[in-house]
């Protein structure tokens, strides 16, 4: 028997980040990254980008979701309650994306310029946006975790996903994948600045929401999550990519190795952001008026 101290203090959620919960963390990030890359690839009309985004969502995100489930063989049941459950809606979006994009890739490869390609590019784009945004709503719907219970969260995840998409498109451009490097760099640069500002706004609003929200923010800035926040999100996710991006802007270009380093840092930053959001989510004490 134990005193169940966890119920009288601010308690962070563990199921969606600890132990096998890391698969859900990877799945959530892969959804944002894959969806972002698809939208950016649509903009640049990069077949390679679209194909890689399909792989990220179908293989990495889908696989991570299956590995996370307690009963993976029953995964098909997860789509049965889209009327109330954001998780059910999300998995439907993922299936839709996989199917529409596979058809679109086939059209783009064998019948480029056909009306079928245009239709499925549109449908794929809508599905990609839905895949990016739903994870934010999954967390946002949890009323008991004030740090997540914000309408800004889905937007933050979308911005983070598009930033990752621009980052990967830089790598595709460096490997001759039909993406203009300067445009990919410009997009990356703008998204980095917007993302950084949005993270600040999100943390500020969360800290002012209620005591538990403030606790979650302080946990990231000064608590056990501080190394992940300051090194992962701030240094690797924002500062280093920004330095590289503006060095490239001022000097007119930097080495490919440096650009790739910046993209890797961006991806690590995106992973760190999702990690902190999941790990810092905390409940109020079970019994009110205690603290």
């Amino acid at each position: 028997m134990e005193a169940h101290e966890w119920m009288i203090n601010y308690t962070r959620q563990t199921e969606w980040i600890d132990r096998r919960g890391i698969f859900l963390w990877i799945a959530f990030y892969a959804g944002g990254l894959g969806g972002g890359l698809y939208l950016v690839s649509l903009y640049f009309n990069s077949l390679w980008g679209m194909f890689i985004s399909w792989l990220i969502i179908a293989v990495i995100k889908g696989g991570a979701h299956l590995l996370y489930l307690g009963k993976p063989l029953r995964f098909w049941r997860i789509i049965f309650r889209p009327n109330t459950s954001w998780l059910a809606r999300g998995i439907i979006f993922v299936f839709t994306f996989i199917v529409f994009t596979a058809i679109q890739l086939a059209f783009s490869y064998w019948l480029p310029g056909s009306s079928g390609e245009i239709v499925f590019k549109t449908l794929g784009g809508i599905a990609a946006l839905a895949v990016m945004v739903y994870t934010g709503f999954v967390l946002n719907s949890v009323k008991s975790v004030p740090f997540w219970n914000s309408t800004l969260l889905p937007l933050l995840f979308v911005l983070c996903g598009i930033l990752g998409g621009f980052g990967l498109s830089v790598i595709i451009a460096l490997n001759g994948g039909n993406v203009p490097l300067s445009a990919a760099e410009t997009g990356s640069r703008w998204l980095l600045v917007i993302n950084a500002l949005f993270i600040v706004v999100y943390l500020w609003t969360a800290a002012n929401r209620e005591a538990t929200g403030k606790k979650s923010v302080m946990e990231q800035m000064r608590g056990n999550l501080a190394p992940v926040f300051w090194i992962g999100i701030v240094l690797l996710g924002i500062v280093i990519p920004l330095i590289i991006a503006f060095t490239s802007l001022i000097t007119g270009g930097v080495s490919s190795a440096l650009l790739i380093t910046g993209v890797v840092c961006e991806v690590i930053g995106g992973l760190a952001l999702r990690y902190c959001v999941l790990k810092a989510g905390a409940y109020k004490p079970l019994v009110a008026n205690v603290h």
């Binding site: 993976p72 029953r74 789509i79 999954v138 719907s141 079970l286």
Partner: protein
């Protein structure tokens, strides 16, 4: 009809009998407990102690039912929220969404056996046949729905007849737990809630729990005089501490 429970916080003596009774009734694995005890104590010369016997609140507006993507978590007409373990995929959305943290994901390490690697007791063998728990799914208190159903089929009244009443209520030696119909204004629990200012945990979530608490010394909204007497920060205590 809506089944509910009242926990008299002034009577609970932290004997853990409700927890033991539930384990026996449902053959619960050692790593999981459906009801739990939360003890709070203010420091100082004359400490105030409150012990909360908590379990699934069988919320009227249950977030777990809403978020479940498979429909495994369902609400019956009598208000009892239950999990169809054959439908549960183990996504744990319900565990995360429960504001009261009263759901448990049964992972392999929570069901190692009473004497891991040595012997499987007859109790465990019987449990595997009579009340199997599926690893990889979510579980929670169901107000002993199977007892209620069997009792009602025999014409018994839950809350009055032991055979139709949850095991934890039957076993409580201090009579701190009362079970009955919340929709019946003449039932004992409706009277207790009305006369002794019954309160729910975290009403701000609009979940409308079916478990009420009365006579709380810590945590009750309507305890102005008590709060004045115990201004120190409360600290947790448990039977072992």
């Amino acid at each position: 009809m809506r089944w509910g429970m009242v926990v008299d916080l002034s009577s609970c003596m932290r004997c853990y009998a409700c927890i033991a009774a539930c384990r026996i009734e449902h053959f619960l694995p050692m790593g999981m407990s459906w009801p739990r005890l939360v003890a709070l104590e203010t420091s100082g010369d004359s400490p105030t102690v409150s012990t909360y016997s908590v379990r699934c609140n069988q919320c009227k507006e249950a977030p777990c039912v809403e978020v479940c993507p498979t429909g495994a978590t369902q609400k019956r007409d009598d208000g009892i929220v239950w999990v169809d373990q054959d439908k549960c995929v183990g996504c744990r959305y319900c565990v995360v969404a429960c504001p009261y943290q009263n759901r448990t994901f049964l992972s392999r390490d929570k069901d190692k056996g009473f004497f891991p690697g040595i012997v499987q007791t007859d109790f465990e063998k019987a449990g595997k046949k009579l009340y199997s728990h599926q690893i990889g799914t979510t579980e929670k208190c169901n107000f002993c729905a199977e007892r209620i159903d069997a009792g009602l089929a025999q014409g018994l009244k839950p809350g009055k007849d032991r055979e139709a009443t949850p095991a934890c209520v039957n076993t409580c030696p201090a009579r701190a737990l009362t079970f009955g119909d919340l929709d019946d204004p003449d039932s004992e629990i409706s009277r207790l809630i009305r006369e002794r200012k019954g309160f729910q945990l975290h009403p701000e979530y609009d979940t409308d729990p079916s478990v009420y608490f009365i006579d709380g010394k810590i945590g009750q909204a309507d305890t102005t005089s008590i709060a004045e007497n115990s201004k120190q920060e409360p600290t947790p205590v448990g039977a072992e501490q």
